[in-house]
């Protein structure tokens, strides 16, 4: 829903990471990690990128998105498991308080610049 804001932040982080001494830098690939519960719609994010990167070193950048699974930890019995459904009840002890240990990520891991 707030993909435009996220895209703006990602572009800012990428721009800051481009070496200052580079002549006409062009970013080819942006490697991202996005959690399955991060409420980011990939299609919307790509669309926002196309709009805001026009006439910048990131124009036509390809977003390579690693989808991070939702991983839950039970604070009572310390079981850890991955889930594809929003049922976060501990399958072992049933009653334990749980915490999400992954699945909410929105981060840049690296980017690839054109060599020429």
């Amino acid at each position: 829903m707030h993909e435009m804001g996220i895209a703006e932040q990602l572009v800012q982080i990428a721009m800051d990471a481009i070496p200052k001494d580079m002549d006409d830098p062009r970013v080819k690939i942006l490697n991202l990690r996005i959690g399955k519960l991060a409420s980011v719609v990939e299609h919307s994010l790509t669309f926002c990128f196309e709009i805001i990167t026009k006439d910048t070193p990131l124009e036509n950048v390809r977003l390579v998105i690693e989808s991070v699974p939702v991983k839950i930890h039970c604070k009572s019995c310390h079981k850890e498991w991955e889930t594809d459904s929003p049922m976060f009840k501990c399958p072992d002890c049933k009653e334990g308080e749980v915490e999400m240990i992954s699945g909410r990520e929105i981060e840049i891991t690296s980017m690839e610049l054109a060599d020429d």
Binding site: M1, H2, G5, I6, Q9, L10, I13, A14, A17, I18, P19, L37, A38, S39, P86, M87, F88, K89, C90, K94, E95, G96, E97, V98, M100, R104, E105, I106, E107, I108, T109, S110, M111, E112, L113, D115
Partner: protein, 222 residues
């Protein structure tokens, strides 16, 4: 050429939220972030709640809305200190970010407050992502919505510390299964306290007020 970056997008917001937390700690004020879909009855719940809490507990409210000051106007009759954030001027945002709370909290002044309630923008998706430096998060669901809302918006119900099921006075007229709704909340967030209330009739207000009073007491006693 590959350049390693490893940066989180919400890092800036998290830093801002930590600064807010430090500010609220210094001011000894308990901060509750109230979130829900539009129309769940957050404002009415607050209006009635504030009447019970004040003047023993000194309350301030930051109201977030995309447009209008209607909610702030309704709350101002409670005599709580109220300030409004219209995200419209910031681009029609769907949530309140930590830096907006910082500006509003300072504008409101927290020296004479025990409790600061942030009435977030009606939206079950984005506000769940943004830490604002609060002490606790409450999600409000009303019985005129679907029982499966917690399963449709799991992040919101997972990050909430408590849930309020509002408008229970309407249950006799609806096919809403309250037990199923509560069960769905607990599937997403086992052990989360759920208060079943009616902001209109104040049914079930006791436990909710008690929870809030207790949490304010714990924070302000420090």
């Amino acid at each position: 050429m590959e350049i390693n970056i490893r940066k989180r997008v919400l890092e800036k917001n998290e830093t801002d939220a930590d600064q807010n937390r430090a500010f609220f700690k210094e001011k000894n004020v308990f901060v509750l972030n109230m979130m829900s879909s539009p129309g769940s009855g957050k404002t009415e719940t607050l209006c009635k709640t504030l009447v019970h809490l004040m003047p023993d507990i000194r309350v301030g409210v930051i109201v977030g809305d995309v447009c209008t000051t209607n909610d702030a106007d309704r709350l101002s009759v409670t005599r709580a200190k109220v300030t409004q954030i219209n995200t419209d001027q910031f681009g029609g945002d769907c949530h309140l970010a930590a830096h907006l709370i910082d500006a509003s909290a300072r504008q409101l002044g927290c020296d004479d407050l025990d409790l600061l309630i942030v009435e977030n923008i009606g939206n079950l998706v984005c506000p769940a992502e943004f830490d604002i430096g609060e002490d606790a998060r409450a999600v409000v669901l009303s019985v005129t919505e679907g029982e499966d809302k917690p399963l449709k918006y799991p992040l919101m119900f997972q990050v909430a510390d408590i849930a309020i099921l509002n408008k229970v006075d309407l249950l006799p007229y609806l096919e809403f299964d309250a037990a199923l709704a509560v069960d769905n909340m607990k599937k997403v967030h086992p052990g989360m306290p759920v208060f079943e209330i009616s902001a209109k009739t104040e049914q079930g207000f006791g436990p909710w007020l008690e929870w809030l009073r207790q949490r304010v007491k714990e924070k302000t006693a420090r």
